[in-house]
Symmetry: C2
Amino acid sequence: MDDPRKIPTIQDVARQAKVSAATVSRVLSNSGRVSEITRSRVHAAVQATGYTINQAARTLRMQRAKTILTAVPGIGNPFYSTVIQAAISVATSRGYGMLVAGRLGDDPTRWLMEYYVSNRADGLLLFDDTLVTHTLHEIATDDRHMPIIASYDQRPDPRLNSVITDNREASARAVQHLIEYGHRRIGHVAGTSNSPFPHERLSGYRDAMAAAQLPVDERFIYQSDYTMEGGRSGAEYFMSLKDMPTAIFAANDEMAIGLIAGFRARGIECPRDVSIVGFDDISVSENYHPSLTTVRQPREALGRVAAELLINILEDQAEFSEPVHEVLPSELVVRESSARIGSG
Amino acid sequence: MDDPRKIPTIQDVARQAKVSAATVSRVLSNSGRVSEITRSRVHAAVQATGYTINQAARTLRMQRAKTILTAVPGIGNPFYSTVIQAAISVATSRGYGMLVAGRLGDDPTRWLMEYYVSNRADGLLLFDDTLVTHTLHEIATDDRHMPIIASYDQRPDPRLNSVITDNREASARAVQHLIEYGHRRIGHVAGTSNSPFPHERLSGYRDAMAAAQLPVDERFIYQSDYTMEGGRSGAEYFMSLKDMPTAIFAANDEMAIGLIAGFRARGIECPRDVSIVGFDDISVSENYHPSLTTVRQPREALGRVAAELLINILEDQAEFSEPVHEVLPSELVVRESSARIGSG
DNA sequence: ATGAAAGCGCTAACAA
DNA sequence: TTGTTAGCGCTTTCAT
């Protein structure tokens, strides 16, 4: 009974406070009317026993786990660690735990849904766009309706709630910046697209070119994979062209860095010979040589807003009958890797 | 009853298979003897109903959440995303979920323990050395004994299980490499230490200097904070000395990059004027200019081994009465940022 | 080999 | 305002 190993239950608190378990529950959840006097007795008893609520019991009874599931891109992606950090902060402060989805099997729809059906998580924060399959929307439109927030760089299924940044517009601004610097032959290194639509950053590139009435030479679009290695390959590719672009917009900073490194290895200096703009503003970009002109996304806000929206939906399902779509603004950061044409 | 919204329970499966819930449970957990014929009937019923076990109920009944808690360093640390990814893979494949700890309040011992006491998690993977307080070991030696694996760059409390890399030895090898290149005046940029002991990487630096019978000029040790910005400050500091070191060992790659960037901003080129070695081999190090000589840690193994050890302990507590200490080997990767003295 | 029943710790409906 | 009671879905004796 006084065994210090025993984890106290609500009954122990009730006994100590000389009230019923129901009353303790009411005090702890601020539901129902409880007199001031008993309330304080209960609080005292909680202190005395060191009671902590048993989440498993609560989850079983309430059918809500107070836990959010996140699916994040596979490889150590530095971009998302900030985003997730922000999401965790929000979740924690609102009493939610944050579970990270691991992969099992090859049907994401199924294993993600399993967390929900098994009462491990109440909703999903989906940051991993490699999981964007045609079956995904089924999760959201499934009879059991697991609430989902989609947050990635591609155009999300409109049936899903989404919190994204203005990838397309920001990309257009980045390319426009190069145009303003006098560049005309502008290339693009695209990342992988997992959706049926073209990637938003590629679309932004085309938008800007079209707006300036510049033709898009399809040979100037190199399909890569978001890695530095992929950027290096891109450099090789562009050098193989007889008329290399004078500026290149890369769909992320890793590829931009790979491009610069690849060019430099062959004597082509950035920005002297070629201007390069990236996307994301990862921490090294400011300290790279040359420092990288890039698009900075509001990562912290992305994670925060996504988590807040999900929890709001979880706590007041009714209010959100229609999918919510939030778009957060990004910012162009001009540094050394882009220069006026001919200034080298 | 046939409402597709209803999540099937073990009772539904039992009814469908015309057996009792107990039997279904036995089949699903492979415990107890069950005849082949009923076993297959149960499996068929599971298929038919689309049953998934309710974790909350199972946790409540068994007093084990099948969930691991991780505490990871605050800011988007690219190093740990790989480590954690590996840990998640292991956990998932062994049927465990992975919960990420958020901070609440300023008593880590308390809020970490709370996950355990509240039946949310069975054990802790501690990667965040900023949580190393003198009260931490209390978690492990607490009457309730939450199992913990410590995995960070500092010397872990010997009462905790630990899975670490050979930070000290690897640091010594890095410095020895500089010595072999003819350097004698070698500096060190140290990271923050949250333990009462000096940082392992600093100790390794001293070890190597002592082994080569080189005096350590205490002015050559600059205390910084693991950031690129901190590295830049370090560069300023060293330049303010009248007799700058000819080589510097930085306690991580971010600071090494900051150093190089800071020096270059003032006309001091690496490796021409100063050799620099980092630690971690983050992805940009290979693509930085100059590419970085650094120490590569077995990140994937770190996460994998830590998770495996924790789960082994969870599943067979008895066997591990003494703390386990694993040390994984790191590897020196020599690239462009270090050069023989006078070769510039 | 299988089933009946108890109970893990909590909350909510109903009584008092 | 407070207590009593039932039951969330599962596992595990204890019978049979």
